[in-house]
């Protein structure tokens, strides 16, 4: 199946040589989230293969494990409110 995550991993391969875990942290978040656009649909939180997010009080994604982000692109490609962009890609 032409499942999104798989496909994107391909593209992501150049970065694989770098130490992924160390690249992101709370100060250097992997993504920018526009919270005023986010409608708390839970898609990014539920599907993130790395479980990067947890819901905040309003149900919006809180990046609790930024360092785990692989830049797989699932979240920003699936956010129905176009509220997530990558800070790298």
């Amino acid at each position: 199946m032409t499942d999104t995550p798989e496909k994107v991993e391909e593209k992501a391969s150049p970065q694989q040589s770098e130490p992924v875990k160390s690249k992101w942290d709370a100060e250097h978040p992997p993504l920018t989230i526009f919270y005023h656009w986010c409608k708390a649909c839970n898609i990014c939180i539920a599907f993130c293969p790395q479980k990067v997010f947890e819901p905040d009080r309003d149900g919006k994604p809180n990046m609790v494990r930024p360092e785990d982000c692989t830049q797989c692109a699932f979240c920003w490609l699936h956010c129905p409110d176009l509220a997530i962009v990558s800070n790298e890609k």
């Binding site: 199946m1 499942d3 999104t4 649909c41 839970n42 898609i43 699936h78 129905p80 962009v85 800070n87």
Partner: protein
């Protein structure tokens, strides 16, 4: 921001800002993103793109994007688009439409545009229901499912829009879902590149009505369902029918070369004008 993932924002209308009107989690936002990425990938100039739509949640899409946009009457988008395209074939014309808009009230324009093979790309958002008016069943609501006008379960058969399009003469017919975004981008890109009438059916979630009425859960649950039930055509071809039970096929379902309507007319007109000039 200047990252690539930000590209969608460069195509949103500067004067009418997000957040959009759609429900939280509605697949339409995903399709909006996919359409923009496909257009961007093909480097089509904004000024040359016309996006038409009818009426429905899906048909609200064009309003947000910074192209020439024509939000028409319910079911008639393809007929309007035919006028736009035929009047100025240089324009790239895209129609965004829902299963109700395109297949219920708009069914006739759909099959006739297929027949004419006019160079228009239709993004048919199939969420199995009339979202805008609050959850009535549509020509694609599966038999047995609940709609507000099918409170005891829908007793009607459904259309398979891709079969209809092929039978009516479309040149390019594909299907994907809002879960399979990469495939979706590819299918839309293919449709845009195709000279002729192209149809991309996108399975989308209306959890607000279809999901709620049929206890199929929220956006996440409906996306999960799509993930589990979609079968790319390459794989599907290899499976025995019993393994396809309950699944639906995605990918490029039909691709055919044939003469496009505007081209054919242009040629006729050119020939006639030459003849006329040739006369004393």
């Amino acid at each position: 921001m200047q990252t690539k993932s930000d590209i969608v924002h460069h195509y949103l209308r500067p004067k009418k800002k997000f957040p959009h009107v759609w429900c939280s989690g509605c697949g339409l936002g995903v399709i909006l993103g996919s359409l923009i990425r496909s257009i961007d990938a093909l480097q089509m100039p904004k000024d040359d793109i016309v996006v038409c739509s009818g009426i429905g949640c899906s048909s609200r899409l064009p309003v947000y994007i910074d192209f020439n946009t024509l939000h028409t009457t319910h079911g008639r988008a393809i007929a309007f688009a035919t006028g736009v395209k035929f009047s100025n074939p240089r324009l790239k014309v895209i129609v965004v439409t829902g299963d109700g808009d395109c297949l219920a009230i708009g069914g006739n324009h759909f099959i006739h545009a297929c027949r004419r093979n006019i160079d228009i790309t239709v993004i048919l958002v199939n969420n199995w229901i009339y979202g805008m008016t609050g959850g009535q069943f549509s020509p694609t609501t599966p038999t047995g499912k609940i709609g507000s006008t099918a409170p005891y379960g829908n007793i009607e058969q459904t259309f398979d829009p891709t079969k209809l399009a092929i039978a009516a003469g479309a040149a390019y017919v594909a299907r994907s879902t809002v879960y399979h975004v990469d495939q979706l981008d590819k299918m839309i890109k293919g449709g845009l590149e195709k000279k002729g009438f192209s149809v991309v059916e996108v399975i989308s979630n209306c959890h607000t009505y279809f999901g709620r009425l049929n206890k199929e859960g929220d956006a996440v649950e409906m996306l999960t369902w799509m993930k589990a039930h979609a079968m790319p055509i390459q794989a599907a071809r290899k499976l025995p029918p019993e393994k396809m039970e309950g699944k639906f096929v995605t990918g490029l379902l039909h691709d055919e070369e044939k003469q496009e309507y505007c081209d054919r007319y242009a040629q006729l007109s050119e020939d006639l004008m030459k003849k006329t000039e040739a006369r004393p």
